[in-house]
């Protein structure tokens, strides 16, 4: 077991290194100094409290969506529909938030949290039921349902729920100040809001559920070997549905955090496919919770700091190409670099096999 993990880490490290070297080569070709550019990337992500705040904002976003993917995957069902679930959570909470305007935040915020989670979960329930009852591939249904959810949100936010505020021509009514997640003084100027506390709480809760509870244990077994779970008397179908519900609820909640935090209203462009970035992180880390959290932080640096490279004239397209290189190589590590790292750690691995 440990041997496998070590080999994986070696190959992951190699991927990052090679990707950064490729990026450096690309920068040299276009006449930029890679050392300076990477320096700016890291200082842009970690150099000041504001930068750190932005990096944390991005990282926690990736971590919660990554874990949402992991919860479903560990129960044997693949949620590609997080984006749609997130949008519906955002829209539902924005609607309820506007409706409850003027009431106590102690009533409104919990109610909005509930409806956001519920919206995401219910939207996830449909593909989950289709999968366990009719064996319809959840990858296809969740992708299609993303489109439906986004178009629905677009219609609602440009039609029935469109803001009536003067001078603002997109999104829903703004969330009243009393309900908003405020920015944090320590990280002033960044996108980080007090919602981060809730995100961290949810991450811990999900980690606890997955690793320390009977239900999490049973979900994991179902994901590992569905016929073994059924054989052992577990309700495999129910556990898979549960995994999907939790995943959907997490996405819905993130939608609300964005709406009640950074955006202050529901806006159609609030997400630039957050969920898919998180999904990628989860897949790269093989759905291991701790790995997802750590890798989210690294991706957070990459995404936040990467943009700063533009300051020294690296074009934004090039920045994105370099980012994609790194992500691509990490995602492809098992195929491209698996062999190399097996060779590097191979001797020890073989000995281990014989022993056990």
């Amino acid at each position: 077991m440990k041997q496998v993990r070590k080999q994986y880490l070696v190959s992951l490290g190699l991927s990052v290194l090679i990707a950064m070297l490729l990026g450096a080569a690309l920068m040299l070709l276009t006449g930029h100094n890679p050392i300076e550019a990477y320096g700016i990337m890291f200082s842009g992500a970690l150099g000041s409290m504001t930068d750190l705040g932005d990096t944390l904002y991005k990282s926690t976003q990736l971590a919660i969506t990554g874990l949402a993917t992991a919860v479903a995957s560990q129960s044997g069902i693949f949620n590609v529909g997080g984006e749609g679930q997130m949008y519906l959570g955002a829209l539902a909470s924005a609607w309820l938030g506007a409706l409850l305007k003027g009431t106590s935040p102690w009533l409104a915020i919990p109610a909005c949290l509930c409806i956001a989670g519920l919206a995401g979960a219910l939207w996830a329930l449909i593909p989950a039921l289709l999968k366990v009852k009719l064996k319809i591939n959840e990858v296809i249904t969740t992708i299609l349902m993303n489109t439906i959810a986004l178009k629905f949100c677009s219609y609602m936010s440009n039609g029935p729920l469109k803001t009536t505020e003067r001078g603002i021509n997109q999104g829903t009514q703004s969330i009243s100040k009393a309900f908003r997640f405020a920015s944090i003084d320590l990280f002033s100027g960044s996108n980080l809001t007090t919602a981060v506390v809730l995100i961290v709480f949810i991450i811990l809760l999900v980690w606890y559920m997955m690793n320390r509870t009977t239900t999490g244990f049973e979900m994991k077994l179902t994901g590992q070997n569905e016929s073994f779970a059924r054989f052992s008397g577990l309700s495999a179908a129910r556990l898979a549905v549960l995994g999907m519900l939790i995943s959907g609820a997490m996405c819905g909640l993130l939608g609300m955090f964005e709406t009640f935090g950074v955006q202050r209203r529901f806006r159609m462009d609030f997400s630039s496919e957050f969920y898919f970035d998180g999904m990628l992180v989860a897949m790269i880390m093989q759905y291991k919770p701790l790995g997802i959290v750590l890798m989210s932080f690294f991706f957070g640096i990459l995404m936040t700091g990467g943009q700063r490279m533009q300051y020294i004239g690296v074009s934004s397209e090039l920045v994105e190409i370099i980012q994609s290189f790194i992500i691509f190589l990490m995602a492809a590590e098992s195929g491209l670099l698996g062999k190399v790292s097996r060779a590097l750690t191979g001797g020890a691995a073989k000995k281990q096999e014989v022993k056990t």
Partner: protein, 512 residues
């Protein structure tokens, strides 16, 4: 025929897999133009040996010579190049393609960039004419019978120039009528084309009907090669079974428990292909009794047990566990009636190979009060302690409790399954293939555990492909053939040679 040249020569072939020696120093010559039958019980190593010839296995030791040349490179491509074809038990055809498309698949005639379908058709028609294997080139595979599909497989091999053909259990999926047709084809291609046929089978009647010579394998060794004309089914059966493995007798005691615990009546079950696999089976097992089901694999045993335990739907008939109706219930509800189950395929259904030993031992008990607070929070301390106790009691050999089960040997993996299921302490046990691929030490241990359960008053239904095991453990035995019970015996009343006769459909009518 006795002076015929040798076309294939296996020399001291040993094929070892981790924990198992599947072929042990096998030497065998196959002559040109003969039909050679290879028989033996399951796991005797027949298929393994043939996979060596077809290049799917590279032998650990020994040499293979084909037409006087040593095989240096083991791969199916190379074997095909040497004129060897193999028709597997499970056909490898594309259902939505036509017969012609399947025959040329992998080596299609081309017209520029495109596949030349007209030529493919022509090729098949030529082959049909040449070998007399009638098929319609334009039929889709999914629309034709299993017997015809098999012909397509044979044609595929012939088209690639095979003149040595390996057939792995070719009649397992055929009706008697189709079997006769297949044999007619075999006779013709041997007589007219001087082809060499090697046929792997369980069915001794077929060996007598089609083969020139027969080789018997047992536990990885080739125990004899005979001219078919010189032997009888009875002799072959006794060669297949061989001498008993010498294990000490296990002490039996009367538990004092009585009463019927498992009752099955007129059970009918379909297999995954939708064919009727269990055809009206009735049986009962009493407390303190082990009922053994003897049969060649694939005669409905698996489906029978899956139906009893709720893993497979029942067509008709009823099942009672401890006096309560169990048919139609979920596996969970059936377990709750007081049943546990050691499944036939430990990797597919018996364990989670990715989880560690502790997790695999605790499954099904995780919600008990001693292992979780309020059925939610898992108490890691007590769970670990419990796992450690079971680990030691069942003598599981692994680096530790956190070893992934997938990295353990077959015997230890099986002990994990047995340990978990036996410690549910239920009055009914359904056990399938308890010691398949398990070394003799672990086997003896598992046998002891099974008899101990019996002595404590459990009702045990045992299915095994290993006759020695059934004889050692059973109080009573039934034979199953093609989904029907063909006889009931006390182990002490019937010699192994005779029972294997019932298992192969031999004298079905005599005592059904």
């Amino acid at each position: 025929m006795s002076q015929a040249e040798t076309v294939i020569s296996f020399r001291h072939i040993t094929m070892a897999f981790p924990g198992v020696v599947a072929n042990d120093d096998v030497s065998l010559d196959i002559r040109k133009g003969e039909v050679f039958a290879l028989v033996g019980e399951n796991g005797a190593g027949k298929s393994t040996l043939m996979k060596v010839l077809y290049g799917m296995n590279e032998p650990t030791e020994g040499e293979v010579w084909v037409r006087g040349q040593q095989v240096r490179h083991f791969s199916p491509a190379n074997a095909i190049g040497m004129g060897i074809g193999m028709v597997h038990q499970h056909f490898m055809l594309v259902p939505s393609f036509t017969v012609a498309q399947n025959v040329v698949l992998g080596d299609e005639p081309r017209k520029g960039l495109f596949c030349d379908f007209a030529k493919a058709r022509q090729t098949v028609e030529d082959l049909v004419k040449e070998y007399g294997l009638k098929v319609e080139p334009d039929d889709r595979i999914e629309d034709i019978s299993v017997g015809l599909q098999q012909r397509v497989e044979i044609l595929k091999a012939l088209r690639r120039g095979a003149d040595i053909l390996i057939l792995d259990e070719p009649t397992a999926v055929l009706t008697p009528q189709e079997t006769d047709e297949l044999f007619a084809v075999i006779r013709r291609i041997v007589a007219e084309k001087q082809m060499t046929i090697i046929i792997i089978t369980h069915k001794l009647g077929e060996v007598m009907a089609i083969s020139d010579r027969v080789g018997v394998m047992r536990a990885g060794k080739l125990v004899g090669v005979c001219e078919t004309a010189d032997v009888s089914e009875r002799i072959l059966a006794s060669m297949m079974v061989g001498k008993e493995v010498l294990l000490d007798a296990i002490e039996r005691a009367d538990s004092g428990e009585d009463g019927v615990a498992i009752e099955v009546e007129g059970l009918r079950v379909r297999d995954s292909r939708g064919l009727e696999a269990v055809r009206g089976v009735s049986l009962t097992v009493r407390r303190g009794e082990i009922l053994g089901i003897a049969g060649v694999e694939g005669n409905g045993q698996s489906e029978l047990l899956e139906a009893i335990t709720g893993l497979r739907p029942i067509e008709s008939g009823r099942v009672s566990i401890l006096g309560k109706r169990a048919d139609g219930l979920s596996p969970k509800a059936i377990r709750a009636l007081g049943l546990s189950h050691v499944p036939e395929d430990r990797i597919a259904t018996g364990v989670s190979v990715k989880a560690d030993v502790t997790d695999n031992l605790i499954v099904g008990k995780e919600r008990r009060r001693e292992f979780s607070a309020l059925g939610i929070h898992m108490k890691r301390g007590p769970i670990r302690e419990y796992a450690k106790k079971v680990f030691e009691r069942f003598d599981i050999r692994a680096a530790g409790l956190d070893t992934a089960v997938g990295s353990m040997s077959g015997g230890n993996m099986q002990k994990v399954v047995v340990a978990r299921e036996f410690s549910f302490d239920t009055p009914v046990l359904i056990i399938s293939q308890p010691t398949r691929g398990v070394d003799i030490g672990a086997m003896d241990f598992i046998h002891q555990q099974i008899v101990e359960k019996r002595n404590a008053g459990c009702a045990i239904l045992l299915v095994s492909a290993d006759l020695d095991e059934l004889y050692r453990l059973s109080d009573r035995m039934v034979t199953i053939y093609e989904g029907e019970i063909t006889g009931e015996f006390k182990p002490e009343d019937i010699p192994k040679t005779e029972i294997s006769y019932y298992m192969t459909g031999g004298r079905k009518e005599a005592r059904a």
